[in-house]
Amino acid sequence: MTERGIPIPHAPGFIANKTPRIVTSRFDYEDSFTIARYEETGGYQGLRTALSRTPEAVHGEVRDASLLGRGGAGFPAGVKWGFCPPGVWPRYLVVNGDESEPGTYKDRLLMELDPHQLIEGCLIACYAIGLSQCFLYVRGEMAVAQERIAQALNEAYEAGYIGKNILGTEFSVDIVLHWGAGAYVVGEETALIESLEGNRGMPRLKPPYFPASIGLYGQPTIVNNVETLSNLPWILSNGFEAFKAIGTETSPGTRMVAVSGHVKRPGVYEIVNGTTTFRDLIYGETMCGGIRNDAALKAFVPGGGSAPWFTADQLDLPFEASQVGPEGSMLGSGAIMVMDETTDIPAAALTLTKFYAHESCGKCVPCREGGTWLEQIMRRIVNGSGTKRDLDLLIEVGETICPGDFPHASNKEKGLSAVPFPYKMTTICFVGPSAFAPVHSALTLFKEEFEAKVAGNSDRNYVEVTISA
């Protein structure tokens, strides 16, 4: 019998398992966020190791670890750091602590429970890239995380870990706590930078694709996610080989994953990357323990609200982007939302479409108008006043945001074969397509539920409109 994971009361939602724990190793301690506990448990050793090497050597260590970004796109951190154009100074590090993707709950735990680990990660990154200014952007609606980080920064400045001449070396860097004010789109890295410049948080037009070339104040800027940076102290302390010994060659290390919705034990788990499957997570005795009331699984969102949905057919896929992508979805931000057989699918999809429509910054017409249209059409379908014509209209509007085939999973029962991720889009960022993703998944996999809702409603008063992409 495998031992069941243990919930930790002072870490609401986190469930401790026997699997290797890289970023959550201190969560068991009630005072995990204090500098005393941090130092007692190996804290700031990774920084010491880093400072005894050259910045290039530290950058090399992280590159060799193949640490993939945990913010959603999964881009290797060490490679991204190399994108700063040579000879352009100053450069900045901006930490993305804006966690607000539907279903995602991990960065807030890391900020509240182990802020020093994050700070040490920032320092290691600054050293490797050659920076002396870092901004730690925390989501506005997280009063406790802001408090814990402020406290930790104050302690670390006091103790000589941040500021001038860190640990008696020449290395000097400031870390400034910054916080947002409620706007999901600000999590997109160029919008994050706009917000940090004091502007409306609207994404910038691409190219350049990475703010590493043109970012904060037009200077080279590295944006990394909280969980990504929280891995660095461990990597420096234990070496890249130890990191790569966990997980797979292409997806090494661990990942924090939040499983919510209709499971027996919803929670945040640190899992082995690359090998753990969705079945392990949802049905594993040490993890969620199956669907509530032993009901059947209807569908699940595998990677945050933006991700196309999976059904039981995809349960055996591992946490490995190269396998999830061809099956029509993405791993995104490590957020799984589970729907059991009792779920009203159109109503569930509407909660996501409403979210993205509401969070559109308004810069691109297809997102601003299309998102609102999708929401309105979905609303009338869900409340029983939609018509058959509305089902086609959803797709028509969706295609103005994402022309061509939208990705979806395969399904044996329905005879569907997968359309691989990603998609084409007419918008600057992924908020527009994300409003369509749940609608498209729900319609593709559960069309009969939509048809039942519109059955008997007449199309008679329908005004024909033509939308061209």
């Binding site: 939602g13 400072l51 966690e99 200014q133 009063a143 400045y157 070396t169 290395f171 910054h178 499983v259």
Partner: protein
């Protein structure tokens, strides 16, 4: 016309000093203003513009983009009930309806005694603890209908001091000791790598 208290004005200058460009202090200063008054007033925006060298129209432009900034008076406690997917699957709609009945107001409005503003909100990064809500941006997890009633009773009690009033976020502030600070430099006044890079290379070669 000044809005900020003397103490907050000093704090405002300290915050501005941390950024390479003054304008970056915009959102932190708007939060400071909201902390002082409970919402963001015209006078506050005017003074913030003056402090960071921009117009009050620019400040309004940024301010109006962000949901947390209230440009009218709100309740002492802003109660945000999450209605996004994970919470919706676990009964958020029922909770919101119950809250409307209990408080006698519709989502988006404030009780006549000025104590509570109720809002339907988006994902609060607590999805495994659904349904959840926030009071002045502090979480409450797995909230049942009776939990909600208790919470409201507790907050309505004038002796309650557990939750600071709307506008107050972190109660601990970052403070960078002058002697430890590297110091923010305007990006145009920097065109070379930090000096420590060469020195660290030499020390470790």
């Amino acid at each position: 016309m000044t809005f900020f208290t003397e103490e907050n004005l000093e704090l405002a200058h300290e915050i501005i000093g941390r950024y390479p460009k003054q304008r970056s202090a915009m959102i932190p200063l708007l939060h400071l203003a909201q902390e002082q008054a409970g919402w963001v007033t015209e006078e506050a925006m005017k003074q913030i513009g003056g402090l960071i060298g921009t117009s009050s129209a620019e400040v309004l432009g940024t301010c109006s983009f962000y949901e947390m900034f209230k440009r009218h008076e709100v309740g002492r406690y802003v109660v945000n009930i999450c209605t996004t997917m994970s919470c919706a699957l676990m009964g958020a709609e029922e909770l919101l309806e119950h809250a409307e009945t209990r408080l006698g107001i519709k989502a988006g409005s404030t009780t006549s005694d000025g104590l509570f503003t109720l809002e339907g909100a988006e994902c609060q990064a607590a999805c495994t603890e659904a349904p959840c809500l926030q009071v002045n941006y502090r979480h409450k997890y797995r909230v049942t209908l009776s939990d909600f009633d208790h919470l409201i009773d507790e907050l309505a009690d004038p002796k309650n001091e557990g939750t600071p009033r709307h506008g107050v976020l972190a109660q601990i502030r970052q403070h960078i000791p002058t002697e430890r600070s590297v110091g923010a430099m305007h990006p145009e006044s920097v065109n070379a790598p930090p000096v420590w890079i060469e020195e660290q290379k030499e020390a470790n070669s």
